[in-house]
Symmetry: C2
Subunit: 332 residues, 2 copies
Amino acid sequence: MATIYQVSELAGVSLATVSRVMNGGTRVSEKTREKVTKAMETLNYRPSSIARSLASNCSNSVGILVSELHGPIYGEMMSGIEKQLRTAGKHVIIAAGHSDAASEKDGIEFLIDRNCDALILHVEAVSDEYLIELATTKYAFILINRYIPQIADNCISLNNRRGGYLATKALLENGHRDIAYISGPLWKMDANDRYLGHQEALSEFGIACNEALLSEGNFQEEGGNECMLALLDTKIAFSAVVCANDEMAAGAMQAARDRGLAVPNDISVMGFDNVLLARYMYPKLSTVNYPVQDMGKMAASWILKNIYQANQPDISHVFEPELVWRDSVISL
Amino acid sequence: MATIYQVSELAGVSLATVSRVMNGGTRVSEKTREKVTKAMETLNYRPSSIARSLASNCSNSVGILVSELHGPIYGEMMSGIEKQLRTAGKHVIIAAGHSDAASEKDGIEFLIDRNCDALILHVEAVSDEYLIELATTKYAFILINRYIPQIADNCISLNNRRGGYLATKALLENGHRDIAYISGPLWKMDANDRYLGHQEALSEFGIACNEALLSEGNFQEEGGNECMLALLDTKIAFSAVVCANDEMAAGAMQAARDRGLAVPNDISVMGFDNVLLARYMYPKLSTVNYPVQDMGKMAASWILKNIYQANQPDISHVFEPELVWRDSVISL
DNA sequence: AACATCAATGTAAGCGCTTTCATTTGGTTT
DNA sequence: AAACCAAATGAAAGCGCTTACATTGATGTT
């Protein structure tokens, strides 16, 4: 591996000059720039990103922590982030947090120890306080899918409440009046917001929210299944169920079928997130779109702008969901 | 940020000693080890991974290039890799190759420029020659899901042929005799191998392979859909179709339904890969399991063993697929 | 012609570690 | 008590860059 030293020697200039032509910025005469460039090519010179990092105190790396590397949401998110960041010559170091507080902290520490210039965090278990402290005292990061008022500028989130509202409103507008709800764990803010939106839509249509028609799930297929069964067991009639995410909707559909109910004819099902599999389900799932890839891109932009002083369009901190109409809901 | 220098000062020892206690290995008296450890804690010392990398000529990072960060397969794969590598204190830098030769080369260069100690590559467009040259002259890497005889030790792949064989054999054993096949792009080795397995099973049962019942798709849902339509249009009767991956199976099922055929009663559908969505489809898809997460882990082990001299169990280079029996196939 | 100015280039001091080699230390041996 | 030895420690030279500051040499000014 050729070093900058050998380049400088071959080109007959000083180290500083080589460094200058590498980094573009400062003025170097056209003649020497050419000499140096040619020397670099001859030697097939590759600057050592590590040495640069040490000398410049900037690693050009950003860490990203997601709950799981698999799973429908995270892939999209990382995809958006990577695209944006690689274009800018930054690289992405990944780690998984597994939705567990200790493990999430671990992941954050790990990334910090890796000298990332900044972090993109999708964490759900770690406390607000921890994050607030991290933000104010130590490290640059942006939070995806979470909103903490005290550090609002570090947050990029979805308007979950509006999403919940849209889902239920769509059902309402199509004649449904008895609507069950399968929520995520209500201690999670997004789950809670989505449910709030549901209530809002109901009350807008003058319908009392029947607590008996709420079942709290775990955001997973099997939870959706169980909740649906529980709902059916109440013997309270309902013509539609809205699920706080698509996986649970899949489980709910399955449960309905197992009880001999047809979707959507006997019961309409609404999802949330619009993950890939929503399109693959049968019937295709009506759901609410969560523009997670765009949000990933935006997070990357935030970092480019705030950490690397790059020009970037304005940052949106809250994204709006949209209804996606497919086949799992009928009009009454 | 405290540096090693401050630690050495506070502990009253030399830099070298601090370095020694950090790196465990060499002998340091218990007393000084304690002094140093305490000093580190007091100062909340974090070694700079960058400085260490520069000095030790080892970045402790491994680059991973996948076709897409989203998509059902890659998430699982990265998940396996990350788990394994992080446990060993290595970090993972990701990049996407987008199944395009130029873009894949780009990604590889990018990762090399990032001073990765080794690479894990899931590439499909780049040529064998390029990879052979890379392997022999320049860089350490392991290939996932690809087999190149000349550099077999750098490859971890699935026995695709056997998978194809298993899929068709299962159908055969359940009484199906007229079996259509929707393949992936046959220039891709995995697609071709799967098809070869299909033929093998047929001939084992003494059935001639009818070329008219082969339709070449693109490994995507919409391709599966089109192929199925084409197959149906031939008017040749068949009671089952095996698809070279699950996405195409989803498309095929959709197409069958659009033509008024029930799955599995009128037609059985077999997939391949056992991606997450196979479980979510309706009916649940019978398929062939592709243990991609384990393969990711194995790739990581290979690197740990070969690059970092860690103790690791023996490396398997080819993984065996297994049949997953679900609801999309009936017995005749 | 003497001087100020400024772009182009060079010098050298780090950045925070690892590692080789030399030195010190304290316990054993005789 | 002298001599010896291994274990513990220290000194210092890098690793391959960036960058503040110094130097050089054209050019323009008076």
